[in-house]
């Protein structure tokens, strides 16, 4: 702490001169390599999520570097926006894609490499020229006071600059973001016309109106079941099989055999009364249109 305050004092005395305090230097030599390692790791690590994590390390280091440069607002905004929201979205997508999904080697976009190389060179030129200019031409200024709410390096000063001097650029960026967001919505939008899919309420009403033979869901495994798989037929209180619980779709259930068994147990009796209690139909022989009804 004392070394930090000494450094701060040195810095404060020197004012605008080109001096780096001890604390700042230490922070830089710790965070600089870390952020570089993170960036390299992001490029070279195989696993996509590890790669994203490396980028998080880089972004966090940047955030802390900003704070050290007397720009705490920028630093924390960097952490909240980039680490908290942007990278979280990346992770979200990566997880949706699956844990072990590998990169596809097929290039979908034509001329991608050429464009990438062009833009890469252009960006590198920009960065190098800006860096060169900052090393030669730009006068170092005294760090703005972040505690000064009105001006300075806090939110107030930043806001003032954004809404006066850099208003055009700011509005342009905002427009770009809005266009991007709209594009995202348009691309992801799926038209759900009315009547295509019934809502839960509509379905309930249709059931109670009698459009379906059955008002309730199909029976579950039941109290006497030995398993809760859909392949296991539900048992009625007398131990016989509830026929409604047998599904044609599930191959592992021997439906034909079970139905035969069911009939053998019941003998000549057509249906168990309880088994039909939840069915809308009057008698036992109304079941055949069920599938049709449910499929609708």
């Amino acid at each position: 702490m004392t070394s930090f305050s000494q450094a701060a004092m040195v810095l404060a005395q020197q004012g605008g001169e080109d001096v780096v305090g001890t604390g700042e230097a230490v922070a830089f030599w710790v965070l600089g390599p870390l952020s570089l390692a993170g960036a390299l790791g992001m490029v070279f690590v195989r696993n996509a999520v590890h790669s994203a994590l490396c980028l998080v390390v880089t972004m966090l280091s940047f955030g802390v570097l900003y704070m050290v440069q007397s720009a705490p607002f920028l630093g924390f905004t960097q952490i909240i926006v980039y680490t908290g929201a942007v990278m979280m979205l990346f992770l979200f997508v990566l997880m949706m894609a699956g844990r072990d999904s590998a990169d596809s080697m097929v290039e979908v976009l034509r001329g991608q490499r050429l464009l990438a190389a062009l833009f890469g060179i252009g960006f590198a030129t920009l960065v190098v020229s800006a860096l060169a200019r900052s090393l030669v031409n730009v006068q170092a200024q005294a760090p703005p006071d972040p505690y000064d709410a009105a001006g300075g390096g806090g939110a107030g000063g930043l806001g003032r600059l954004i809404f006066t001097e850099f208003l055009f650029g700011f509005e342009l960026t905002a427009a770009l973001l809005i266009v991007a967001a709209l594009a995202g919505i348009v691309l992801a939008y799926r038209d759900r016309r009315e009547g295509q899919k019934r809502s839960q309420r509509e379905l309930v009403e249709a059931r109670f109106r009698g459009d379906y033979k059955r008002r309730s869901p199909y029976p579950g495994p039941g109290v006497f079941a030995t398993g809760n798989s859909v392949a296991t037929p539900a048992l009625l209180p007398d131990g016989s099989i509830a026929r409604e619980s047998l599904s044609d779709l599930i191959e592992s259930t021997n439906t034909a055999r079970l139905i035969a068994e069911h009939d053998r147990v019941l003998g000549s009796q057509t249906e168990h009364d309880d088994a039909r209690a939840l069915l809308g139909g009057e008698s036992g022989e109304t079941g055949e249109s069920e599938q049709e009804g449910e499929a609708k």
Partner: protein, 471 residues
């Protein structure tokens, strides 16, 4: 690792703000930056201890209160009235066997609980617990650091903390935790926006992002009363941010086993647990600081003895007491509300909280602009108000009337759940039923014709029926 660096950065930033000549009374930040190293360490240890003890207390309190709400006794075996139950559980948990799934990504699996727990404690550093006091002869504030952007520190900490949950779910290498992690990622992105927006009004009125200044700005009235909509939205998104019921979708016990921490055991699970409760404590303290006047005494007490109870060590009492209100709210919500369905939860965040917040911010910004400007006379203000009310009334005419129910719909009585009315008339066949009936009749006729052709008798009929049996 990052927390240490962040702390270094914070202190260095603070140090820079320190003036050379301290002739005028030192500001809060300057006093705090002047703390000797032993005092800083003492505060750090005290904050850590506070977090851990509050966690142990909260678990017990939660179990007891929920038990009370459900007419049970709750824990009553370990210690006086069972108050040491969570301590015993914690010790047991630390010595429990650790099981790591073979499909886990070991590095990330190990890192996740640490990432989850550390930022929760970091956020403690900016909460002001009290005013200037003297500790062993050293004048200081009951706060670790006072950053010019203190409010953002809490937001940043909660943003980073979620990484623990998301990575933990991913690294476990099984489907339920992954689903929990996905939910958590979507949840935190949505609710952080609502939370951040609800802070805007407070910052606008306090004219500062520093937590200490925000408390000072509430000397004449709590922001909870002045900015009620912001307060409500903040409380809702606060519960969403901490993954607590009714928004506990990432760990929904009834759907995802344990959600993101299904595959965690022993100390790593304990860390997740700790993080959740410390986050609750931090956000409760944050809510107190932003909206309930921070450590200041509530009104009748604050008037006693010319603000005597706002000085010295007393404010810690008020701060903790106010914090307890929020912590109780957490428990109460858990004991009362069922879990939201995922789409309902998202709809609440994006379609209710965020737009309402934006409208509210525009409103108060307008009101403030009019109030602070000297050119606007009272008469003009009245005209502005009248025009605004007129506009609202006109706009309300645009709201379409409720759709008239069609006569075909099933009559419902009470609760929105379709129930047969008392004077129920059994409806005639619907067109669909009629068609089915017709089909049936045709089939019967055909069948009879076949039987008539003389192939066989009753047994065949039952066999046929068996085939027709529904599936």
């Amino acid at each position: 690792m990052t927390s240490v660096q962040a702390h270094d950065a914070m202190t260095s930033v603070l140090a820079k703000a320190q003036p050379l000549l301290a002739q005028q009374p030192m500001t809060r930040a300057e006093v705090l930056a002047d703390d000797p190293i032993w005092l800083i360490l003492l505060k750090v240890v005290a904050l850590f201890g506070f977090g851990v003890i509050m966690t142990l207390f909260m678990i017990n309190w939660e179990r007891k209160v929920v038990a009370r709400m459900q007419h049970r006794t709750g824990p009553n075996r370990v210690g006086p009235n069972g108050w040491l139950q969570s301590l015993a559980d914690g010790i047991k948990l630390a010595f429990a066997e650790e099981i790591i799934p073979t499909s886990a990504d070991r590095k990330v699996y190990w890192l996740a609980p640490v990432i989850s727990a550390t930022p929760a404690f970091v956020a403690f550093s900016v909460l002001p617990f009290g005013p200037q006091v003297s500790i062993f002869g050293e004048q200081t504030y009951l706060q670790l650091v006072d950053l010019p952007v203190g409010v953002l520190v809490v937001l940043a900490a909660s943003a980073v903390g979620v990484y623990g949950i998301v990575l933990g779910g991913w690294a476990s290498g099984s489907p339920y935790p992954l689903l929990g992690a996905l939910r958590s990622a979507a949840q935190v992105i949505s609710y952080e926006i609502a939370m951040g927006l609800s802070l805007v009004a407070v910052i606008l009125y306090a004219q500062s992002l520093s937590t200490g200044d925000i408390v000072d700005a509430q000397r004449n009235g709590w922001f909870a009363l002045l900015l009620l909509p912001s307060f409500v939205i903040f409380v809702v998104s606060m519960v969403g941010e901490t993954n607590r019921a009714p928004f506990d979708l990432p760990e929904a016990e009834s759907e995802l086993v344990g959600g993101f921490h299904t595959e965690y055991s022993s100390l790593k699970f304990a860390l997740f647990f700790l993080a959740e409760y410390v986050n609750m404590v931090v956000l409760s303290g944050f809510a107190v600081t932003l909206f309930l006047g921070g450590y200041m005494a509530p009104w009748p007490i604050s008037a006693i003895g010319d603000g005597y109870f706002n000085t010295g060590w007393w404010p810690i009492l008020w701060f903790v007491a106010k914090m307890m209100i929020f912590l109780f709210l957490y428990i109460w919500l858990r004991g009362t509300l069922p879990r939201f369905r995922y789409d309902q939860f998202m709809r609440l965040g994006w379609k209710v909280l965020v737009p309402a917040n934006l409208v509210w911010i525009v409103m108060i910004a307008g009101v403030r602009a009019i109030n602070t400007s000297t050119e606007v006379t009272t008469g003009q203000k009245v005209i502005f108000g009248a025009v605004a009310i007129l506009l609202i009334v006109l706009l309300s005419l645009l709201i379409p009337e409720r759709r008239i129910e069609d006569d075909d719909s099933v009559p419902t009585t009470g609760g929105g759940y379709p129930l047969p009315p008392l004077d129920l008339e059994v409806p005639k066949l619907t067109p669909r039923q009629a068609a089915l009936e017709k089909d049936e009749r045709r089939r019967k006729r055909k069948e009879r014709a076949e039987v008539g052709a003389g192939s066989s008798t009753g047994t065949d009929a039952t066999g046929k029926e068996a085939d027709d049996g529904n599936v």
